[in-house]
Symmetry: C2
Subunit: 205 residues, 2 copies
């Protein structure tokens, strides 16, 4: 079993290696990767060792080969169809975020229960009625559902998504969901706590 | 130097221990914490060892004591004044997100350069003109700036924030900023890659 933080870092490694490839670099060391990501080279070696041997003695890691391997592991080569439930501020920001489609996550539908939003478009994507969730998830072959509704509605929406046959959920509501489908909770306050720690550290050195 | 992933996990430990305290639990083991966070107990022990000895043989960790210690380390006891630049979809979602104020990050001001948004309020917070950034940051004693503007404007906004005397930046724009102030980049696509990996793993087991 690969630890969760390692899986999260794979996305970072993929970005970092893509930048090196764009710059025409063929081989990199664990130090080259670690510097860009502000982590230790030993952490890079440890993470990559979970997936087999990629480094060549003296030469370092083969950028193209490692990119292909990581792409395969994190499903980068695959297009993922995404639906966002909650066409509010957050749902709209996620729909228009170019980072998602750049990493092969295509938002194909938004869902809401507010009659004034249903039928409208956000960045070209239609807002469907939440009662059409199951039919639309099957029709558009949607695999990932995003929960961007208020806290009180999140558990109910998770159950609707599970019933519709969705394969994974990215949850932004500050609620622990009870569901059989894999869930990834997102909480941006952790980034604020990290910056607070770095600010305190910087002022005391 | 404490590794960055460890700092990020401290926020998670703090949440987990607060829940145990609310349930009236006085002592917990590294296993009790690890189970809730889906990580290994050895990772919990390793992380907490950076900050000194808290566990008591046989009893486990003293919940109240550990909470106080972590609170002190990640600046939880301190109120942080926050300004968000970019009163669009993302800026609005962040302003109304209850998670921030719950963890003592108070959004006190929004900034924008769109004349139609300036002077309006989002969840009770005033949208100021970006040209008033320096004066308002000093008046409201703002320490953390959030960048929620389009990619092309992010570097310019980072320079304005640095000039205004801000101490730390949380950056949502998909751009690597050049600034002397500590920056924490947020990219939610990493959560999508993690869920994609878990979905692929689940379907192959
Ligand atoms: N995790 C994070 O880092 C983070 C950051 C910001 C916001 N949030 C959370 O994201 C959620 C959305 O925030 P927002 O600012 O976009 O709120 P919002 O009020 O702007 O949008 C919520 C949308 O959900 C819709 N909705 C409500 N109940 C529904 C239901 N049962 N079915 C379908 N749609 C429903 C509403 O009509 C509305 O359009 C909130 O839970 C907020 O706490 C999380
Ligand atoms: N990192 C992530 O996970 C993530 C997720 C979603 C969106 N985003 C990013 O967040 C940013 C904002 O997204 P959005 O959907 O809210 O966009 P938006 O267009 O709704 O909002 C952007 C706001 O910035 C303002 N603005 C533009 N230039 C400015 C300047 N020089 N000074 C002050 N204000 C200025 C605009 O007037 C607008 O109100 C984008 O860069 C987007 O790519 C990141």
């Amino acid at each position: 079993k690969i630890p969760r933080p390692t899986v999260k870092r794979l996305g970072l490694y993929y970005r970092c290696l893509s930048n090196y490839r764009e710059d025409g670099v063929d081989f990199v060391s664990s130090q080259d990767i670690a510097e860009k990501l502000n982590i230790k080279p030993s952490q890079v070696r440890k993470d990559l060792s979970y997936f087999g041997e990629f480094g060549k003695r003296g030469l370092g890691y083969d950028v193209k080969k490692l990119l292909n391997e990581i792409a395969h592991i994190i499903g980068v080569n695959k297009e993922w169809n995404v639906a966002i439930v909650g066409a509010g501020n957050l749902g709209s920001a996620l729909t228009s975020y170019p980072g998602l489609s750049k990493h092969k996550f295509r938002v194909l539908a938004l869902f809401d229960n507010n009659q004034q939003k249903i039928g409208k478009k956000v960045s070209g994507i239609t807002v469907y009625d939440i009662s059409d969730l199951e039919r639309t998830v099957n029709k558009l072959k949607i695999e990932i559902g995003v929960i961007a509704v208020p806290e009180f509605a999140a558990q109910h929406v998770a159950e609707l998504l599970e019933k519709s046959g969705i394969k994974g959920i990215v949850n932004f509501a500050p609620v622990r969901l009870r569901t059989n489908v894999p869930v990834e909770d997102v909480d941006i306050t952790l980034s604020f706590e990290t910056i607070a720690y770095n600010v305190v550290k910087k002022s005391s050195t």
